[in-house]
Amino acid sequence: MSDKTYDTPNLDELESGPWPSFVTGMKRQAQDKPMLAGVLGQLEQSYTDRKGYWKGGTIGVYGYGGGIIPRFTELKDEQDNPHFPEAQEFHTMRIIPPAGMHYSTALLRDICDIWERHGSGLIALHGQTGDIMLQGITADSVQACFDELNEYGLDLGGAGPAVRTGMSCVGAARCEHSCCNEQKIHRMLVNNFLDDMHRPSLPYKFKFKVSGCANDCMNSIERSDFAVIGTWRDEIQVDQAAVQDFVRRKGRKHTIDNVVTRCPSGSLSLNDDDTLEIDNRSCVRCMHCINVMTEALAPGEDRGVTILVGGKRTLRIGDLFGTVVVPFLPLRSEQDYQRILEIAQEIVEFFAENALEHERVGEMIERIGLAEFLEAIGLEADPNMLKEPRSISYVRTDDWDEEAERWYRRQQMASEQAS
């Protein structure tokens, strides 16, 4: 293995400027880790040619089918000798961080130390799916590195057609808007699907993301197959004195222009005494007024979660957002939390059996129809799952009366439960 560094005039341009430079970091690291010198050399070549030069392969650890992203250089001469021999291999290990990406410095330092022993030293915190990405290891070293990390208490994340590493927002740990225990839900979900994570055999990937409120700081509706979002069912908590204080400080016009008229459901009205009137029946729980008047307003007390299924990006039929399949699941007991897991299990199972190869759950729902999907996983249809009911009359309503009956029975059960 050679020990040289390569000229990187293009990359050097990225060392100036106020933002921390990955090039500077990698150069520094390359002094100890020749692999990175080679990687920089190859990257420079990419900058010159505007082409990528990595190809994939298959690398794993004993007992698992995924979690490593293998990379081999394609930059070779006629004799199959790599231009940058130090960077012949440059594999990434996806490691699951603590939910919410909280670290004691001890944990982070220990990761650094293990990684220094086995790999290139390059760490991405974090990948877009939420993994610690340890970038730059040879096939040879993968098992030993994993063993050490795993003994220490860390595990490999997902890759391939598998349940993936999940994400949850900072939530209850440091955010006043949190309507649920995000980390608990996150861990309960992901940690119950570790078999589907480590032995990829689903039709395609499946991602969980948890946000504590509708601000959705985890982009869960856009970026996960199964999004859990905290919300509430009763009334927004109002401290009217704090409202009056807000109006006093910011002005009436400011309050009307920035709070009242921005409510998407027309639920707000500023009273003459500078208190706020809220039509909680029409409120769509969008969070805006609470965001702006965080001192005065807070989510209600009857809290729970909404579940949306099917978010993903572009491939095949264009981006999909998740669709509401559970409008509200109250979270009062351990059992309630378990119910989230049950639903996830039903869905992943149905997905595993019914999706086409390389089809995400959102695409599957689009293919078979939401009503079929709900039926299959045993969830009841609810108006909250729709922006609006159908406009097209092409539907067979043969069984209208039974379906109506079903609704009335449910309504009655619900009202009996309530009373």
Binding site: G266, A371, L386, E403
Partner: protein, 362 residues
């Protein structure tokens, strides 16, 4: 007579097209064409327009049965002649409008119309005349009647026609088959078949161009087939959405059924651009019986929706805007109508109908 004509060379038509209305306009309207300034409604059924020239007109809106005998049309003419200078017009909803240019002529005109049995109303926030179609009276494909349905409903809604006590105007439409000549509306009453067509195989070969029938089906459920040795068609009943599109080009595809052709009510079709953009109507309830001569179940449901709207909407909210504000969950709660899986659209591109947000109402 037909034969007599056939022998002599027939006359070539004068392709005159749409007549110029100018000479059929009340002279005051003619003089003030394009010069109107504003209007108000002194009472339900009467519009009072003021021109920039200072001239004024009062227009009385008059309900009709649309399908009129000569005596009815002539009686309108008589009244227009006697009280209103001999002019009238009709609205897109088959109401007559008679205009006078002197306030003094207004009350006599109203009195005469009422004496002749014409309801006066349909202006402003009222329920105006239902727009209707042909039905059993004339069409070749109807599953129900039109004039009868409208008559039955307008009897029930008469008070809402002659008074203005809705949050905003209410436009109701009916259609006697799923093709829907009647259009969309705040409340739309349409046929909804529930069973695939029954095919009269012996007739298909004589009556239908099979390829064009096959082409009409929106879900490609029709295949050419040979039945009893004759060319015919067959329907994949699991695919068929019972839309009836195959029936007009091929009457042996009997889609109409006295029992299984039901009635559905749709809400929130809004075509004005005032405030929101035009919106399609949405399914409220289906499975209602097609029950002549007075369709009581339909009337009951229309009134239930209408009065829930009246009691809960804000001023200027059309039916669809009201529901959008309170949410569909609450709409079903307030009206007591059932929400079913059939409310979930499953047609191509229906993705945009799903709630892909955390916006929820409880």
């Amino acid at each position: 007579m037909a034969e007599a004509q056939a022998t002599q060379k027939p006359r070539s038509p004068i392709e005159s097209g749409t007549p110029d209305p100018f000479r059929h306009l009340h002279p005051t309207l003619r003089r003030n064409f394009g010069l109107w300034r504003s209007h108000d409604r002194p009472r339900p059924g009467v519009l009072h327009h003021t021109s920039h020239t200072g001239e004024e007109v009062w227009t009385v809106r008059v309900g009709t049965q649309r399908q009129m005998d000569l005596a009815t049309v002539r009686s309108l003419c008589d009244i227009a002649d006697e009280y209103a200078d001999g002019y009238l017009r009709f609205t897109i909803r088959s109401n007559a409008e008679i205009t006078v240019d002197d306030e003094a002529k207004l009350q006599p005109l109203i009195d005469a119309l009422q004496r002749a049995g014409f309801p006066i109303g349909g202006t402003g926030p009222s329920v105006t005349m239902i727009s209707h179609t042909q039905g059993w009276l004339h069409c070749d494909i109807p599953a129900t009647d039109a004039s009868g349905v409208v008559k039955a409903l307008m009897d029930e809604l008469h008070e809402e026609f002659i008074q203005e006590r809705m949050p905003n105007r209410v436009h109701i439409t009916t259609s006697c088959c799923q093709i829907n000549c009647g259009g969309q509306g705040d409340i739309a009453i349409n046929i909804q078949h529930t069973k695939p067509p029954k095919i009269q195989h012996d007739l298909v070969a004589h009556v239908c161009e099979r390829p064009s029938v096959v082409a009409r089906c929106p879900v490609a459920a029709i295949r050419p087939a040979v039945v009893n040795g004759q060319p015919s068609l067959e329907v994949d009943e699991s695919k068929c959405v019972a839309c009836g599109a195959c029936y007009p080009p091929c009457p042996p595809m009997q889609i109409n059924d006295p029992e299984h052709s039901k009635i559905a009510i749709w809400v929130g079709g809004n075509h004005a651009n005032a405030r929101g953009v035009p919106t399609f109507h949405k399914l409220a309830v289906a499975g209602l019986p097609n029950n002549p001569p007075r369709w009581p179940e339909v009337a009951e449901h229309v009134k239930r929706i209408l009065y829930t709207y009246r009691d809960n909407a804000r001023d200027y909210e059309r039916v669809g805007e009201w529901i959008e504000r309170i949410g569909w969950k609450r709409f079903f709660e307030l009206t007591g109508l059932p929400f079913t899986k059939h409310h979930i659209e499953n047609w191509k591109g229906s993705r945009y109908k799903l709630n892909t947000s955390a916006h929820l109402r409880f």
